[in-house]
Amino acid sequence: MEHTVVNLWPLLGVAVIIAGFALRAHPVLVVVAACFVTGFAAFMPVEQLLATLGTAFIKTRNLPLILLLPIAAIGLLERHGLKEHAQASIARIRSATTGRLLIVYLAIREISAAFGLTSIGGHPNMVRPLIAPMAEGAAEVRYPDITMDMRHRIRAMAAATDNVGLFFGEDIFVAFGAIVLMQTILHGEGIDVDPLHMALWGIPTAICAFIIHSWRLYRLDAQIARSVK
């Protein structure tokens, strides 16, 4: 039998991350410390490690674009009352509650992502200026003396709803990166799978995600009511 030696030392990098978060150290410092520990555990000299980090840092610089490019427009609109407008608009719809609003948003987000339209939504350009203020505004209309803690919970739920809708919607879109990745990896192992089948077999989980999260959103309304009494 073929016997290969697996280097287990890189797992130290994981230990650094866990210890760092447990000790509540600054996340950025924890990440850099983990980089150095992992690099040394893989027997990289300092200069090679810095070069590896630098190459990766340049290569992944497309990541912050999604966050940073829209903020000039969003910031300017906020200065001119976008959040206040979102809150005033939702206040006019009498049947709107925080939970119902977020269930509607979850449905829109998940279905549009399933059709590949993942750029509808997102934290910097939808949740911060529109969805979170509307969710908070809907609660404020009914319960004017809502606590700050409950406001924070509502905002966090708005962000969570965007994530759940995106994650469990996009993966049933055939041309999405994850499906391509899975197909490539399985192909490399000698298994050929039709991307359409992978997308279709994702649907049961996507439905479960919608039911579970909607139920929590439905209960959020009751929690808001209780927090005021």
Binding site: G13, A51, L67, A73, A156, N163, M198, T205
Partner: protein, 318 residues
């Protein structure tokens, strides 16, 4: 190509340089020199890009992490309007305020579908390899222009507002970027093999349900560690999914793959390591607890992970 991703790197680099310059001149920022240095260094990454020697870029990242980690990036003063002024302006502008905000997703969707293959003199109008990001960049520029026009503001004011938002995000802006670097390093260092070795050596998978549970929970756990489901999938599919679920229990590979990836996404919901989804929104929504979004997602993610185990168990041999 007429409009490439590089163009938006320069746009963002120029923006960061402006932010650094404004931070330097802000007397109300208690650490204006280190704050300005932080944003200036980040601007170098975007302006110099691939021309930067790798070792220099690595050093730059470490210096930025040290500045941010020791509290060198602080808030200044931004001349914000009072809530009354904002409410009055909201009443005056009404639904028009929504136009620039909705222009961003609209342009991104149209750009990445309709304009995907549009050519001009034999050149692609938009970089086809980075179509979504380039379309998003165009949408953002349109939105700024429209917002300036609607609110009768100057582009300089738009820059001031960018600085207000970026400063409130602070180090959360660079955390996802640095975590992506760590993810690549983990892969380089052979983290996948090490984890798969530990999982398969110490757990007995003679029971079908145990094998399914190890696969799904392993996906979630590995994603919690790496912060990215795409890193977990090759490891768990190669370590457990293909040899055990498909090889021993004759699972349908499409079901194994689809539900496996969704189990990884359950992990993404539960980890601060997926900073762009979980930590950045907490900063964007000005939540005092940076883990508030993760905590809110765990009660959805755990039942969903159980549902995945059940679904895979019952569907894989259909």
């Amino acid at each position: 190509m007429i409009l490439t991703l590089d163009f938006f790197y320069y746009v963002l680099g120029a923006m960061l340089l402006m932010i650094a310059f404004m931070a330097l001149r802000d007397q109300h920022n208690p650490r204006r020199y280190s704050s300005a240095l932080f944003w200036a260094l980040y601007a170098v990454i975007y302006l110099a890009g691939e021309q930067l020697p790798p070792v220099a870029a690595g050093l730059l990242m470490v210096v930025m992490a040290l500045i941010a980690g020791f509290g060198g990036v602080t808030l200044g003063r931004y001349g914000e309007r009072t809530p009354e002024e904002r409410r009055a302006s909201a009443q005056r502008l009404g639904h028009k305020l929504l136009i620039p905000a909705l222009l961003i997703p609209l342009t991104t969707v149209i750009g990445s579908t309709v304009f995907k293959d549009v050519q001009w003199n034999g050149l692609f109008l938009l970089d086809p390899k980075h179509i979504t990001l380039v379309a998003l960049g165009c949408g953002s520029l349109f939105a700024v222009a429209t917002a300036c026009w609607l609110t009768r503001s100057t582009p300089l004011q738009a820059m001031r507002e960018s600085r207000r938002l970026v400063d409130h995000l602070g180090w959360a802006v660079v955390l996802p970027h640095m975590l992506a670097v760590l993810g690549l390093l983990f892969t380089d260092a052979g983290m996948g093999k090490a984890v798969a070795h530990v999982v398969t050596s110490y757990i007995n998978m003679d029971l079908r349900l145990v094998a399914v549970a190890v696969y799904c929970v392993g996906m979630a756990l590995f994603t919690i560690i790496m912060g990215n489901g795409f890193a977990a999938f090759p490891v768990m599919a190669g370590g457990v999914g293909i040899p055990v679920l498909v090889g021993v229990y004759h699972a349908n590979p499409a079901v194994m793959a689809a539900i496996g990836m969704f189990s990884a996404y359950c992990g993404t919901l539960m980890t601060p390591m997926a900073a762009n989804f979980n930590i950045v929104p907490a900063a964007l929504l000005e939540l005092p607890d940076k883990n508030a979004v993760v905590k809110m997602q765990i009660p959805t993610a755990l039942p969903l992970l159980l549902a995945n185990i059940a679904l895979l168990y019952f569907l894989m041999n259909l």
